[in-house]
Symmetry: C2
Subunit: 257 residues, 2 copies
């Protein structure tokens, strides 16, 4: 029997999603909890890896188990065994043939930055400070260039094992809000898949363009040349959150409390 | 020469504002930094104390010092010496006769709660989870009863040394926003002063009324009887933030970056 879990985690104290020896990972914590719960080693597959320090509001994973616990109660069973920085928000029996890794149709990430005269203690855990106020018009114009199907080779850190670097970005939307006396900028990026560090690289480029330190033409050049060094530096992990993974079918309907 | 500082801190790892022996406090960190900066013991006065675990977005403090550092640069000098969970947002020469404790005319606190099926790792540091979705209409109606000049004796934890328990609450406003798939409820309370635990007690009562577990008549009874036990329990510290302190004069104008 296959189960799907909707997860949220604070990436601050995790060395990313994927199990590693001698490092605390989200997958490691979940597999540890699953082993206690089901009494045997249980593999937990994720929709994709998140890097060290990256957060999640809506990561999806699946696991196969034999258990008398009703699917929608697995949530509580896991939460009783997991540390507080990772929580199961919803649990359900997976649809026939469901694979959370291969079945993911769309993913949405949000990158959050703020402008303030210094790091703000209440926000700095989940967002990155910009030294200038970015121009939203410039950011939106740059964001438009990213949308569509492109070869994102230049937007990929070294060490990627992806077969192709062509991806489709459905939308890049820029939002602004005021909180606690600071201006916050959100960059929501929705696509059919992302290369290694791709969202953090494109966020870096768009924020730099917004702050007037770089230009749109660099994005066009990056698409043409495929050269990583054409673009701005990768933004820090802490500003990135995996917001949701879309499978084209509702996975957790009817399990809302 | 007197200086005013605008502060933000994450209260999670502080035993409150006020200096204590063998405990980490915001005032203690500031006085430690001031001693290093000015080469002599320097008292730092706050607009008021905040409890252990309570956060601040706009606390105000003052200190007297002889220093060649220009007033608006004190910000950076302090930030270079302070730990990252407390930051000086702005610094300025204080107006003639300024006293940050006695001169405070209005303070605004915000209490934040959210409703979700479990604790949300990315939000649980600065907000408190409600098990139900509160009714905003009921909360707003209860909030109206708090506004005005009242004897808030029942809204005060034991151990207060205040001479009078009469305070004026100028406004209690209830807001709702959606973030990361959860509903967040903010209770902004502005008044001429607050008793010990007063905001956390009134937030507890208003959220309980919103969740249908208590009634407005209890607020009226609390004003009549002055009995603490008439009201709901005190909400946890982590949901509370000191948003701003108003002195009737701008303290930091012209220091914006």
């Amino acid at each position: 029997m296959r189960y799907a879990l909707l997860l949220s985690y604070d990436g601050t104290h995790f060395c990313g999603w994927q199990v590693q020896k001698n490092a605390r990972t989200v997958q490691g914590e979940l597999e540890g909890a699953a082993e206690k719960l089901f009494g045997c080693k249980t593999k937990v597959a994720g929709s994709g890896r998140t890097d060290a320090g990256v957060h999640a509001l809506g990561q999806v994973c699946h696991l196969d188990a034999q258990t008398p616990v009703p699917p929608e109660r697995l949530r509580e069973a896991f939460n009783a065994l997991l540390p507080p920085d990772v929580r199961v928000l919803k649990s359900a029996a997976a649809p026939e043939g469901f694979d959370c890794t291969r079945g993911a149709k769309k993913k949405t990430y949000v990158y959050t930055a703020y402008s303030a005269p210094c790091e703000l203690p209440l926000f700095d855990r989940y967002a990155v400070r910009l030294k200038e106020k970015p121009d939203l018009g410039k950011m939106r114009s740059a964001a438009k260039l990213i949308e569509g199907e492109h070869d994102f080779k230049a937007f990929c850190a070294a060490g990627s094992s992806a077969k192709t670097s062509v991806r489709t970005v459905y939308s890049v939307s820029v939002s602004e809000r005021e909180e606690g006396g600071a201006a916050f900028y959100g960059l929501a990026v929705c696509g059919n898949g992302f290369l290694y560090n791709m969202v953090r690289i494109l966020a870096g480029e768009i924020f730099e363009i917004g702050c007037g330190r770089r230009r749109e033409t660099e994005i066009l050049r990056a698409f043409e040349t495929g050269r990583r060094e054409t673009l701005a530096k990768t933004m820090p992990a802490k500003g990135l959150k995996l917001l949701s993974v879309d499978y084209g079918v509702p996975l957790f309907c009817g399990t809302e409390e």
